[in-house]
Symmetry: C2
Subunit: 271 residues, 2 copies
């Protein structure tokens, strides 16, 4: 599990620790989280270097060649001139902004840009136009150029203190989560109609036998994320499915299995 603790002025931990083993803590890797965020949108913010070597932040759109962002920028814009002079760049990409902005998942992809040629140019141009509908109107203007950011370094932040790096190899080998973006309805349904099942999962599978409430915060290919309330404070935990799923149609079966497992463990303890 990632480290959730910030240093506090008193030095105390800010989260309740699990009291029993988490049955199946499986969760997406940092590389998978990164690929999922990057695939979820086509806008981000580029950091490039000015002629003085100063950092320059600017809004950009992108398509994807595998996990590498494909930019289309104008030399009328400062970032276009920056990339032409120094290829070092990174891009910050943010998933849907949470009500509390710092709880928002985001990623920084860092590396160097290059101008693709030949078949690579065609593939990059197609990737950009298919992701950014309006680009077809300007991508062939003489002041616009297509650049590919070759991702060498990945830093993922999943919210408060949830952060990890991924190597370039891990990032490029990973795939976006096929469940997360489609699970909102399922998550709402679990919270609205199956609060008791979620609480049993938190108590008997999630490591928090003293949980008094459990809210499902997400469903991904490996399991459910829960936020549990205990008399000792709150904490996030994980309840992994019996097997990973790759189709949103399987979410219901996977959660029914978890509910059965939690109930059988509760019965075994005579609860």
């Amino acid at each position: 599990m990632p480290n959730y603790d910030h240093g506090t002025t008193t030095g105390a931990s800010t989260l309740a620790s699990p009291l029993t083993e988490i049955a199946n803590p499986a969760q997406p890797s940092a590389a998978e989280e990164a690929r999922t965020i990057v695939a979820s949108t086509s806008i981000g913010t580029l950091a490039s270097l000015t002629a003085d070597g100063d950092p320059w932040a600017s809004f950009v759109t992108y398509g994807l060649l595998g996990g590498n962002p494909v930019l289309c920028v104008s030399t009328m814009a400062e970032h276009g001139r920056n990339l032409a002079a120094d290829p070092r760049a990174s891009i910050s990409i943010v998933s849907d902004i949470a009500k509390d902005p710092l709880a928002t998942s985001r990623v920084t992809l860092a590396g160097a840009v290059y101008r693709p040629e030949g078949d690579d140019f065609t593939a990059a141009r197609d990737a950009h136009v298919s992701a950014v509908e309006a680009a077809k109107y300007y991508i062939d203007y003489t002041d616009f150029s297509v650049w590919v950011l070759r991702v060498d370094r990945v830093r993922w932040v999943g919210g408060y203190g949830r952060m990890a790096s991924a190597t370039s190899a891990e990032y490029h080998a990973a795939t976006p989560d096929p469940i997360l973006a489609k699970a909102a309805f399922g998550v709402d349904h679990l919270n609205a109609d199956h609060a008791e099942a979620l609480l049993l999962m938190a108590q008997h599978l999630g490591g928090y036998p003293d949980a008094t409430r459990a809210v499902c915060t997400r469903a991904d290919r490996y399991g459910l994320g829960l936020q549990v309330t205990t008399p000792r404070g709150w904490a996030p935990t994980r309840v992994g499915y019996l097997e990973p799923i790759n189709d949103i149609e399987h979410l219901r079966t996977a959660t029914v299995e978890l509910t059965r497992l939690a109930r059988s463990r509760a019965s075994a303890k005579g609860m």
Copy 2:
């Protein structure tokens, strides 16, 4: 008026030029546009420098001390360590994302960060907490630090080819537009119920006597932005009020005056 023309593969202009003088082209300055965007949100993307001098893009929240963004970042995050090692930074701030992302207004503020002390720290801390509600829970954690970005350079992009720089002095002297964010209802009303008045404005005040359609795209303290359609193509233009306004309550009167003026000019020409 800013330059809207991109270089095209044929070298032709992509926009219809005005045929007559624009009666009152008054519009916000780049500095005013920048202050308006910066005041409209509390999230942006920071560009800082890594230990290797590479550009690092990362999601941040901010409050405002005048026009200077106040950041609160953790040394658990790479950008916190970057700022501590090299104060050079810029921040990209984006207004509401338009359906066509590159039509979105955005600004880059560049300069250097410093850690405020004494009364300046108190003011900066208060500015951040009042803008970022959740910050009260973590701003006093030992791993978080408050930084002020002293804005030295400003680059505003209002959409395709609408871009201009502002000096530090211009930026700090400017104020956010008091009308723009409150005018959506008024703009919708003009387009829904006063299409003929907008067309008269475009023809007799906006420089496009051959306009066949005019859509109001925004209302700010100086006037209306119109997008006009002509047999020669489309173009943006401006119809400035008789006097700038500072209260959304005055928008109706200002547009009624513009309609009267456009009608009287049409009558004078026997139209």
